[in-house]
């Protein structure tokens, strides 16, 4: 099976400073891949390049065999930004109905997405009156509407209680088992063990790309956090 996402020599600059310097990465289909690294290491920039909203200085990003951001991908790839991007003056239902119409999502998609993220019972509540975690889940529900083949999720579990986090990770694996490819970023290393594959980033470089067990075996460390420190040279404190 060809990789769902293929990044070759990706370079991104911001204000003349390189953010990603010739990054290579392939993400396999039907897996949950964790993108881990300290805040500011380029995770969000890489994700934005994959969904085609990032200006790039060089290299190529192919998603499902097409250049990232091409019109054919706009229904097949979904993106959840770190800050919830929803209309705070609209209700849960109005938000989802609008995006469902834009996406041409099938009937029943709104109810299914609401149930998946556990927002049933909140349909008529304006997004402004939701808690931070609920707003994040509304943003996630929007991404699920069109049954995307590739889901790019930027820190989707920030601010969620442990029970909800557990439920969302179960959902992610159900989606992957159904054939979807998920790229999930986190700066919390303990979420790493829930991924099928791990990509560790630091200062715009990929420092490791492995299955969690292989990563621990290769670095002879007990935790992903320890592996990360060992890989980036433990004498230097990780940001």
């Amino acid at each position: 099976m060809p990789p769902a996402i293929e990044v070759r020599g990706l370079r991104v600059e911001r204000g003349g400073n390189p953010v990603l310097h010739g990054l290579d990465l392939s993400i396999e289909q039907g897996m949950v891949t964790g993108l881990l690294g300290p805040s500011g290491c380029g995770k969000t920039t890489l994700m934005r390049a994959i969904v085609g909203v990032q200006k790039v200085a060089g290299g190529s990003v192919m998603v499902l065999g097409a250049p990232a951001g091409s019109p054919a991908l706009r229904r097949r790839v979904a993106y959840v930004t770190q800050a919830p991007s929803v209309y705070s003056d609209l209700t849960v239902d109005e938000n989802l109905r609008y995006f469902a119409r834009v996406l041409g999502a099938p009937a029943g998609a709104v109810a299914r997405a609401v149930a998946t993220v556990g927002l049933a019972g909140f349909e008529t509540r304006p997004a402004a009156k939701l808690s931070g975690g609920q707003k994040n889940r509304l943003s996630l529900a929007t991404a699920l509407l069109a049954d995307p083949e590739v889901l790019v999720l930027d820190e989707p579990t920030v601010g969620l209680d442990p029970v909800l986090r557990q439920e969302l990770w179960t959902t992610f694996h159900e989606l992957a088992d159904a054939g979807a490819t998920l790229l999930v970023s986190s700066h919390v290393m303990d979420e790493a063990e829930r991924c099928d594959r791990l990509v560790l980033m630091r200062e715009g470089h990929v420092v490791a790309d492995d299955a969690p067990a292989d990563l621990l075996a290769r670095t002879a460390t007990p935790t992903v956090e320890a592996a990360f420190l060992k890989l980036v040279d433990f004498r230097e404190p990780a940001a």
Binding site: R14, V51, V53, R75, Y79, D89, L90, Y98, F99, R101
Partner: protein, 245 residues
Amino acid sequence: MNATATLATARRVVHQLRRDPRTIVLLLLVPVALVTLVKWIFAGQPQVFQRVGVPLLGIFPMTSMFLVTSIAMLRERTSGTLERLMTMPIAKLDLLAGYALAFAGFAVVQASLVSAVAFGLLDLDVAGSRWAIIGLAVVNALLGTALGLLVSAFANSEFQAVQFMPVFLFPQMLLSGLFAPRPSMARGLEIASDYMPMTYAYDALSRVQRGTGWDERLALDLAVLAGSVVVALVAGAATLRRRTG
């Protein structure tokens, strides 16, 4: 272009405005209050109100729609929803057309209300068709909407966006012929006013008010106004970027 996405966007914008009743009340009542004010300011010179009243029926809605839409589009960008939409199958022009459609609906109500008050309560006289005045007021509001959507691309904050009103609309208002006949202006200003859409709005409203009838000049006014709406929307769509830094 995709009619579903345009209509969905228009419906969404209406839903958003419905959640904000105070804005709706301001949109509808401020032009009425201002036209009433002008009537009383010229209590001793009723002929002045008769001359400027009808053009103001178009210019006030243009101004209020300009402000509201430039802020609405700015919010779309700062809330991250624009970036989300740019990853979805919606054309940039569909999005702006949706906004224009929603605000055109409000413009019909706004223009009808201010015209009804001006004709019914303030004794504003029109030699031509009153329906033509209402129609022109709606076109003016639509032009305000399209210009507001366009300039919002150049504003990074609400503070900047509100400043664009005096920058873009005040000079047009001063040069449109409302304050002084254009041929009596300095030659440079008269030429500049030829390139400002509000000049044609003022001219059309003033012609209908004087009842000069349908002629080539009125047709030109309408063509310029309609063309400006389309150009502003297309230019506005061109300023939206799917990819940003």
